[in-house]
Point group: D2
């Protein structure tokens, strides 16, 4: 930690600040310049609240010099994490595609969609049994029945299953059907839940919160990792800004930033990021071009009658076209899409 003192800090101020640092267990290294004195506080205390020092008379700024996350950071693990999920590798050279409806609605629907997305190269079937909805009056999902249908459809067409868990007490149930547990943006800082996920043996895909900084997102990954579950996949799905023309603002730059700061794979979800079908395609291409390890897109066999998010779901033909385009883009950067 670096403590920068004010230009007019008195010697008495400096001595008090040094005493406080000693009381908190830090070693202190003083460096006096012409205009300004800087104190180096040595001793790693990841949870130290720097405001405790900022308030002291004579202190101008306090900077942390170590990142608050450890297990998630690339300096802890320099090479990419690659997770092998029943033979599908995520985080490696191949870009993995996850596709399916917003919610499972019926046996007919989920089998029809699974067939389509498998045919065009998806590796995962996405879809929800439990749906987080802003309104208590909206369709809340088919529950376990939906998960069963999804599992059967995925098995029939050689796909893996990724689906959302909304609460600690759903983990056991969802684990029975899913290959990857998806954690929604609104739960990114539900800390008790993250601790429980740390005990799961299933990989977890952690969506970025609507207003979460990249550092906070990695801290949430740290909760899961520190609980013992090493398989965390990150998912960018758009952040909240002042712009109202799109549902959210997809932060494509999070992709290269995460690759620099962390060894964990990152997937992009343009369907939620942009919210309108005809703009999902360019954003999916952009995510691949920026280096995403996977994309997740909503596809529906009959979007006009979907029970939720139909407006952002692709038609099967559009999905096919998208797959063709991203195969070429992947090549441009030395990667591939199956």
């Amino acid at each position: 930690m670096v403590v920068v003192l004010e230009q007019h800090a008195t010697e008495q101020d400096v001595e008090r600040i040094i005493k406080v640092l000693h009381d908190f267990g830090f070693d202190v290294h003083r460096s006096t310049g012409v205009n300004q004195t800087v104190l180096g506080a040595i001793g790693v205390k990841p949870d130290f609240d720097t405001r405790q020092l900022e308030l002291l008379p004579g202190v101008a700024h306090v900077y942390r010099v170590t990142e608050p996350f450890k297990l998630a950071s690339r300096s802890f693990k320099p090479e990419n994490s690659v997770f092998d999920i029943k033979g599908v590798k995520i985080g490696g050279k191949e870009i993995v595609v996850m596709a399916g409806p917003c919610a499972v609605e019926s046996e007919e629907q989920i089998f029809a969609i699974a067939e389509q997305v498998a045919k065009h190269g998806a590796k995962f079937l996405r879809g929800g049994g439990f749906k987080p909805r802003t309104s208590p009056y909206s369709f809340q999902g088919m529950g376990e029945e939906g998960l069963k249908l999804m599992r059967s459809a995925a098995d029939k067409f050689g796909l893996l299953v990724i689906t959302e868990v909304m609460d600690s007490n759903q983990i056991d149930l969802v684990e029975k059907y899913a290959d990857v547990l998806q954690i929604g943006a609104r739960n990114m800082q539900n800390f008790n839940f993250l601790k429980e996920l740390g005990k799961s043996s299933k990989p977890v895909m952690l969506k970025r919160g609507l207003s979460a900084t990249i550092e906070e997102w990695l801290m949430s990954a740290e909760y899961v990792l520190s609980g013992g579950n090493k398989q965390v996949i990150l998912c960018e799905r758009g952040i909240r800004t002042f712009e109202t023309a799109t549902r959210n603002t997809m932060d494509i730059s999070a992709i290269p930033v995460i690759h620099a700061k962390s060894h964990l794979p990152i997937v992009a979800d343009p369907s939620h990021g942009i919210g309108i079908r005809d703009k999902v395609i360019p954003m999916a291409r952009a995510a691949v071009a920026a280096g995403a390890d996977g994309i997740m897109v909503e596809v529906h066999n009959d979007p006009d009658h979907a029970k939720s998010d139909g407006a952002q779901s692709l038609f099967p033909d559009q999905f096919d076209e998208l797959m063709k385009q991203i195969r070429i883009i992947a090549e441009a950067i030395g990667r591939n899409v199956s």
Copy 2:
């Protein structure tokens, strides 16, 4: 719902749109102007996804004409809701003050603080047994032991208890000690949890999420209200913006906006909103001047050694001074602080 058509929409487009509206169960009222055609879609469907129409050829815009929340809205209940909690009324003429430490740390600490805040006019003792922390390596609270101490301290000095519940499976435990259940900003859209809180007999204080719009906040209140719990208090605690000089940006304007849109009481929490002690006081005064029904402030007998949030906790003397100031301000607007 109002559907505005594009200027160059063809008659065929219009007919298709009308057919889709009929299929969704709406009655349609067509109004053709010189430049533009507008369709009124009649029939209340609170969860209808307007993007289903926005995608149709010929549609320019779709507007909802009814607010998505009902029980929380002032048009549903025009007069203010006033909750009587063991004799303390919130939502009425009196401005209620909630004060105490960030976290319960020891018997000595909580009793010392309770005595101070009671003496200066607080009605509620605030403090946490369970603490949501960004880092898994930070102090996570004393748990039930902390709640017990808090209850005893509150009882001794004639205070009520408000404390945070972090998870559905903590509700039963916390209800044993608390008079009001506080729900943190990061849980504002934890929908399963909100449903469980709807079944509680205790009042709930729902903090605004860091990037929640006022409409979403009221939708979350609606989850609790529609579950049967009519006692929901709202709490503004700062939103996330681009500004980095403050921890969050306290949205003081949410106070008059909530009063216009809803009958529910609103409390302001300047300690979390601003994050630095010497700015908590002006922001607490501002909240009262803007019409808040209560304020919640962190007070600590020894902030320099607090285990969490010491930097934003007031010294007891500062709390006393603040109480004197807000008594005068309350008068200016025809209210009072006890």
Copy 3:
């Protein structure tokens, strides 16, 4: 305009609202539903302040049904605008690359860079003579001398010149040297300046303001267009959000949104959007994949000693590699880079 009335609006309220609309010159069309009355106000008044109605007793919401911009909108001009600038077409099938240093620093520097970027396929030389700097103590550019050097370097290597104009009183001067006038993000709503640019015969590239909505950006384009200058190019360069890991958040989704709303070409500037060299490349690829009509990147022959923005400037070799990648990506979407 559509005026939605409150459910409990009285007949007297309705009559007063209708009278006010008549006074403002609107024709009114009343449509009464079971729960709600909606008024259609007919008559185009692009500058009408809808808040004048929102305040009236009985009014719930007011919606504009026409977009506030006209000349910039795709409904006014359905086909893409393609500008032919001395033989280089922007807005058509070809993706145009603009490259060069942040600021012109010396004859040697600008000639060395111009040679490099021309060799690898850029069509425009970018660079500044006048630099808007946050601090009055920072390097402010070489002024006219820089523009002269830039023009010579561009001419020698067959490039066009794009450079920033900062003020109305610089237009005449900059027009002597530039092929396209670049308007900075901070000037996007400098309305007097926009009016002056409307009188110029040179194309204008209008950067999006740091917190400008897409609608406001198009309104600023409208200022230039309505002044008589039809050649407006838009440039996305990142918006301000809460994220601090990047200089700005590049809003890649603005590209498909602009293409849907407007006929004007859109260029992406990832150098300013992201601010750090190694992330400029993935973001430039993403912009092309999302459909940008051009990209503008900073390239420097010696970034480590650049007088400004060296950290976000590419080395010539990196620029070469980027050009190779975007040529492949362009193909994937049926476009090309020369």
Copy 4:
């Protein structure tokens, strides 16, 4: 400047970084801890771009230790700046009220309003002759004719004049009529214009940009101050956030933050901050309670027929009521309103 090195930085990295710092003219002070090395770079270079170092291999973070502004900072001038403008002091104990219409519309209008606001205690008449409007089709103000009327009305009722200058080439003209030159939010970073204002002998009131950080705002003040004009008043008028229920989000916390960082007076403009009349009053009270040195509010004798911003203008009676309330609030904090 403090340069924190990565944990795995090699000795070769460290030596290169030190060499680069020397080349830039810094003295370097090395401090090696158990896990991490920190370099202190001594030598004040206010415009140094820290990204030049962040890119070097082995560098984890770079922190500036001096604030980029100087003349505007409280450490440069510890006591409050109080400006005496024809006998009205701003920045002292008295809270100054500026009131008037959005735009001057006619002789009758401006005289009627001036009389009202003077009667209730305003010291300044506000109003615009030149209006910055988002749409080129909106009312753009009466120009010089409006300024003349405003000056006469102010003189008749013993008021001072504050009005907006939109461009460098309007300064001479506006100076003839105004006592304070108001600079709009959209011009906050129009740097050429700020330099010109630095040469004016009239006080300047600088509004905060819609997405300007407090540091950037003070940097813009620095432009004016460093040009030789010492009379800069800051004005908070709301920032842009994701919230759509209000026009902007008034950042009340900017008031105590500015008071801590700077000696310059700060005024609050709740009319633009909130945008709807009935919420202007609570926000004006909040600003005073938070310590604002002045407030600026829009008042109109006939808001329903105002040519601009009628919806956010107070009726004269409401203004009177507001003045009564803020007189009491001012007392609570040891200040006064005339």
